[in-house]
Subunit: 318 residues, 2 copies
């Protein structure tokens, strides 16, 4: 039965049609926080991104996994509307990361990293993905990011994530990739390192001249700053009673941010600001439980409810 | 000539009538930052507070100074509408502080502190101040804060500032003072120390049960959180191209915050949120120049303009 439009309580919470492609890592994580620990649970930037974005649009994932990646893991993604045609399974073991959060949990202490099959990751874009208009280049070698970007000439919006390791290690390659994307998402330290400037407003000016006309600076528990053509937008993080596991917060933010824009199909200043809030909503839910558990059992109603709470959290009268 | 009300372009920018009393320190500061240095300039918490608040209401100051405090310094305050009847001049030298800011300038490194006449500060409230309905107990010994609070039975709104030194050194006296105030302003570290909890939301619940129904947590370049009866309000700091001298930012915030509330005469949730923004406006101007220079040459129009910019900085569509 087709439900008449007037009966749909919240049309905003509908899933869009245009797919969003993400390339990044799929991993197994072992995580310890003051609230508990988890062994070898599904993680990786592309996983968090895909599951967060899946509440907004269909997602196409490009990543590599090993033989320890089972059908149950693939099904977990597929059940959330993630197309896994680009999730290549090769001999060897999946990328493994083990880390610990202490004190205020603002930073992870890496205990172990096994790149495994990720070390030789050479992304292949399935033919069915080549018409994608929305793409997110997760935090991988900028040479690969650019390689993927160039295979997607129809992309109307390309986002990119990077980190200290590439900013220091492959600055020229990163700059070439930056020249061909629309949005860059980094944290405060990375923005300062990339621009060579400590003042964030000045750093943003420099970075936006490198290519991405929109810059998102993630500040963890201090929220997010957006630098775009209409000026600066500043949003707080959602105050939570307890953060159980900060892993994937940034990737979940990116998933909500890009997911909203792909669903809206419009990158106006007003939609970019909304996207920051949807990103913050997804990040705030992600950290409520270990791994991706909370992202799996969300509801559109919960997403909209927290969006409204962000409105209440930041509102003041003129 | 009396200007008809309809001709006043911005009635919000008018100075209120009810005086706001502040007790705190008046000092001479020597300051070094990456942008320059200044020797023995007028400072102290009560000075920054008074000058910031003076743009909203008449201010009454209670503090002690030494013989090196000249008529020119007193006149500087009086010219901004600050009543200095409670500014006692005694034999000896004025409180002196010397400090340096490096790197991101988030914290001052104290080079020298000479308490001088401040060491024996025993505040006397002039008779002309005793009917004050608005009072701010600046960061001094909590025993003195309570002593002053009790001499002002007509106070409808009492704010209090404190610091690590008193939280650790005189916890019981501080709790007695907190039980008799409406608003507490502290920074993140102090809120955690006072409550014994690292999660700010939980810390706020504990602190609000100690007395102050309104809690303001100052987070420097990361903005301000307000915990009040309508829930949490989170406001960013104003992104500046350059911070010349962070000294007095917190006291200027408090001056704008309390000043707006005294002018409004109403402490509703909506006015408390507005007060946070006015406080943030005053702090953002204060740090643009060394010492109190920028607070002296402000205009009501500039204050309103930056308030509007805060609206633009934080606005997103529902």
């Amino acid at each position: 039965m087709r439900i008449p439009k007037s009966k749909i309580k919240n049309p905003k919470s509908k899933i869009g049609k245009a797919p969003l492609l993400v390339i990044g890592s799929v991993a197994f994580d072992s995580i310890k926080t003051p609230h508990g620990k988890a062994e070898k649970i599904l993680g990786g930037s592309a996983t968090y991104f895909s599951l967060a974005a899946s509440w907004f649009v269909p997602v196409q994932v490009v990543a590599v996994v090993g033989e320890d990646f089972g059908e149950e893991h693939r099904r977990l993604l597929q059940d959330r509307g993630v197309d896994t045609a680009g999730l290549e399974r090769v001999p060897g073991k999946t990328f493994y990361w083990s880390g610990e959060y202490v004190g205020d949990m603002n930073e992870a202490r890496t205990l172990e990293t096994q790149l495994n099959v990720f070390e030789k990751f050479s992304p292949t874009i399935p033919a069915s993905y080549l018409a994608s208009e929305f793409v997110f280049l997760g935090n991988i070698d900028p040479v690969l990011q650019l390689h993927v970007r160039r295979q997607l000439p129809k992309a109307r919006l390309a986002g990119l994530d990077s980190m200290n390791y590439w900013i220091k290690g492959k600055p020229e390659d990163l700059k070439r990739a930056l020249a061909e994307v629309d949005v860059l998402l980094v944290n405060e330290t990375e923005a300062r390192m990339l621009s060579g400037l400590s003042n964030l407003k000045k750093a943003a000016e420099v970075i936006r001249k490198m290519g991405p006309r929109t810059l998102v600076i993630k500040r963890g528990e201090h929220g997010v700053m957006l630098f775009a053509k209409d000026g600066i937008f500043s949003a707080p993080a959602f105050p939570l009673d307890e953060v159980h596991d900060p892993t994937g917060a940034g990737d979940s933010f990116a998933g909500g941010f890009m997911g909203h824009l792909a669903r809206a199909g419009d990158f106006s200043p007003s939609q970019l600001r909304r996207a920051v809030i949807y990103g913050s909503v997804m990040a705030s839910y992600a950290v409520e439980e270990f791994g991706v558990a909370r992202l799996l059992r969300l509801t559109p109603k919960e997403i909209e409810a927290r969006y409204d709470e962000f409105k209440k959290l930041t509102h003041f009268d003129a």
